[in-house]
Amino acid sequence: MAAQGRHGGQESNKMTALVVDDNTVNRMIHHRLLDNLGIENVAVVNGKEAVDIHCSGKTFDLILMDMDMPVMNGIEATRQLREMGIRSMIAGVSTRSMEREIREFIEAGLDDYQEKPLTMSKLISIVHKING
């Protein structure tokens, strides 16, 4: 894949992402996956922090949203972000549970849903949706 962003283009052209996941191992892996694609990224540990970071004025091109998290889960966080008018690409990333739960997650406002664990090809397919 093209080393997007590695050639040192302007900061403003670099894609940005927010990783929302309560699992430390997953956060590390998602960070590396995004880094590899030249996507600047930041991580928070639950849905509430994801909402708060947007309240502080930050926005991202892509949000990788885990479903099960303490304090505020991914479904609620996605709902709130959409209510706030956030139009970013939100990709739900979660382990497969019940159809009903996945549907609820998607209906909360996801643009895409991928089953964990996240791989490079899954991430690329998400990113293509933003660009294409």
Binding site: N23, V25, R32, P117
Partner: protein, 149 residues
Amino acid sequence: MDLVQLQRQLVEYRTSLYHEGFLDEQFTQLQELQDENNPDFVVEVVSLFFEDSERLLNELTKALEQQSIDFKRVDAHVHQLKGSSSSIGAQRVQKVCIAFRNYCEEQNVEGCLKCLQQVRHEYSLVKTKLESMFQLEQQILSAGGSIPM
């Protein structure tokens, strides 16, 4: 042992870990994320997995020792362990976690205790094997060789 022999030993060892179900495709994904800019990525993620798992296993032991077990809490810890083991490709650990969660849902104490024992066992197996593999890799690097893919 010379370099070529070491490299062959590593490949064989790694292959056996996949065959025996200790590792799955996800581990390969992690290896593919490692490059010259991040030469220690796999070791770093796996070390994080070890730390996190040990913490979770301790929490699980404590939670299951309580007079009145909080199954939601137990399930939350197992969920975390299932998530991280799945992410690094520790397939056998992940499988026990799935059974473990079912017992939590049924609020089956005996089942949970059995699974805790099993998951401890599988975790310590995969930890030992990964550490042996990393040691082999180090030997190869120290001998001036490169890690075969």
